[in-house]
Amino acid sequence: MTGDELKDYVARQFEGRMTLLDTGRFDPMYEVKVPDLLEVAKALRDDENLKFDFFCNLGGVDTGERFEAVYSIASTINKLRLDFKVMLPRDGAEIESVQEIWPGANWYEREIWELFGINVKNHGNLKRFLLPDDWDQGHPLRKDWDAPDFIRMPEL
């Protein structure tokens, strides 16, 4: 399946649940609504022609107005790759854990919980792990984060 065929196929199969975002000439980026997340993820993994069985990456983004969780998945069988994202409100951001679909997502979810403060439902093991155990300065990857000993690089 080439890139365009994948685009068409996803547009056909996931009509309404995955919307193509306009990001120009790059790889297609889809948006998935928060309540649909688990269901779409399951369908992406189980669809005969897609078989996205490999979890590449999950990155959080703080755009200032909202949070985004960007998933990158791949298929080791059909050699495909797909990105989709979930947009979340800034306060009370919460996503469903996709661990039961891709167990490898476990630590990535822990990471966005820790560094962005995005809550992950049904995760089961939300424990601090990248930051020191006695960390009490909030979520450092948020754009508005600051701390007394945090030195910004001066503009040259």
Binding site: L131, P132, D133, P140, W145, A147, I151, M153
Partner: protein, 170 residues
């Protein structure tokens, strides 16, 4: 350490004692300098260079330096790599576990000042001298094995000049 420190004072009162104590002092300094066993402690990039320095081309063993896995038996921490705020207390603990006399070499920019992670990093300790006393600083990111060897030789020179009476009562 009390008795050993006071020994030269008593010895000097005996005729010929001064010469004995200076000779012993020389032997003491020399033996310490020539047998620096380092702790196997590497956190980041510099650890690879530390490994290379221990390997065939540069060969730490020439200087009488071998690695020990436990801090109790080592004389020297070559602090190779970034020390984060999470790792800082552990480094302190390792240092505390070492037996006197103990020495520290700060290898690489990160341990000297935070190096490339000085700005914009919320997690990196800005120099290990905030945690433990450092004897020799080796700049570089990462320092070449030659610099590390030079640093070790500098430390040996330093130890050879160190008098027993300079020691702090702990």
């Amino acid at each position: 350490m009390g008795l050993i420190r006071k020994l030269p004072i008593y010895a000097e009162k005996i005729p010929g004692g001064a010469i004995t104590t200076t000779t012993l002092e020389k032997v003491r300094q020399y033996s310490q300098a020539c047998s620096l066993w380092y702790l196997l402690f590497g956190t980041a990039c510099c650890a690879i260079e530390l490994m290379c320095t221990g390997a065939a081309r540069y060969d730490f063993d020439r200087l009488g330096m071998i690695f020990r896995a436990t801090p109790r038996q080592s004389d020297l921490i070559i602090c190779a790599g970034t020390i984060t705020k999470k790792m800082g207390p552990r480094l302190r603990r390792l240092y505390d576990q070492m037996a006197e006399p103990r020495y520290v070499i700060a290898m690489g920019g990160c341990t000297v000042s935070g190096g490339p992670f000085y700005y914009d990093s919320y997690a990196v300790e800005k120099g290990i001298n905030h945690i433990i006393p450092v004897d020799v600083y080796i700049p570089g990111c990462p320092p070449r094995p030659e610099s590390l060897l030079e640093g070790c030789l500098t430390l040996q020179e330093k130890i050879k000049k160190q008098k027993l009476s300079d020691w702090q009562e702990k």
